[in-house]
């Protein structure tokens, strides 16, 4: 039963990803545009993906204002 639950959950995430791909690809109008589809993350939920892979934080630096003369 445990394996079955796991399978169905993963399958549900995978099916959700297929729906996402259709939406994301609808903006891809030319040959160079990004393509979205099945990859190694397709059976992860959006939250699982965020928790595992989107873990960086950023400290905003000062706006770049060009080089100083001495540089």
């Amino acid at each position: 039963k445990l394996h079955s639950d796991y399978y169905h959950r993963r399958r549900s995430y995978f099916e959700n990803s297929i729906k996402r791909h259709a939406y994301l690809n609808s903006f891809s109008t030319d040959k160079d545009s990004a393509k979205y589809g099945i990859n190694q993350f397709s059976d992860l939920s959006i939250n699982e993906f965020r928790e595992l892979y989107l873990t960086a934080t950023a400290e905003t630096g000062p706006p770049y204002s060009g080089l100083k003369t001495e540089e």
């Binding site: 990803s17 030319d30 160079d32 990004a34 873990t55 950023a58 630096g61 000062p62 706006p63 770049y64």
Partner: protein, 214 residues
């Protein structure tokens, strides 16, 4: 500026890594930048230890997350030398920090510069050519489904959650783009790379840009 530039063509970029089930993108980005700047200075390209940064950069959270600038501040202030990957191999989990003597061979970070280049991506191109590959943060939510091509939509700025390495750019085609090395293995994207449109701060690529000086 050249219309097309890529530090890979100068043999100054390490191979694409796979962080596996460890949220250490920030460390891969920092170590990638250091490796490249070291090679840019005429030294042989060598793989340095990401695990050392994950374990020892105490102001970050190891595999649970971290920041590029905090890691570089730690390297600069403590003058810890980054050792070779073979001496401190990657384990994809946070471990106890291994210390090396100051006489041990390694790469020392002298300084770094972190700037906001939003609205100034052409200047950022110039800095990339001058300084070397740039460690940046991006909003990578839509990257979960990315297969290849130039990313132009579905990517917000000011919501950074992932760290990567900008190695080059290409403005010769209809859509100019940044060439960005990720750390999710070579089976993701364009052999491990993602292309992001130049202009418009797509994915927030210009929001937090860091260069390393050795």
């Amino acid at each position: 500026l050249p219309a097309k530039f890529d530090w890979r063509d100068k043999a100054a970029v390490g191979s694409v890594q796979n962080q596996q089930a460890c949220g250490g993108c920030w460390a891969f980005s920092v170590v990638g930048a250091i490796e490249s700047v070291y090679a840019k200075a005429g030294q042989p390209l060598k793989q340095l230890s990401v695990q050392q940064v994950i374990d020892c950069s105490y102001k970050n959270q190891g595999c649970n997350g971290g920041s590029i600038t905090r890691a570089l501040s730690w390297l600069k202030q403590t003058r810890v030398k980054l050792v070779k990957q073979s001496e401190y191999p990657y384990k994809a989990k946070t471990g106890i920090c291994h210390l090396f003597s100051q006489s041990h061979d390694g790469v020392l970070v002298k300084d770094f510069a972190a700037h906001d280049f939003s609205g100034r991506e052409e200047a950022m191109m110039g800095r990339l050519v001058e300084w070397g590959p740039l460690a940046v943060t991006v909003d990578a939510v839509s990257w979960q489904d990315y297969l290849g091509g130039i990313m132009q939509h579905h990517c917000s700025c000011h919501h950074a959650n992932h760290a990567v390495l900008v190695t080059g750019y290409d403005t010769t085609g209809d859509v100019p783009y940044w060439i960005v090395q990720n750390s999710w293995g070579t089976s993701w994207g364009n052999e491990g790379y993602v292309y992001i449109k130049i202009g418009g701060n797509v994915c927030g690529i210009a929001d937090s840009v860091t260069a390393v000086f050795l």
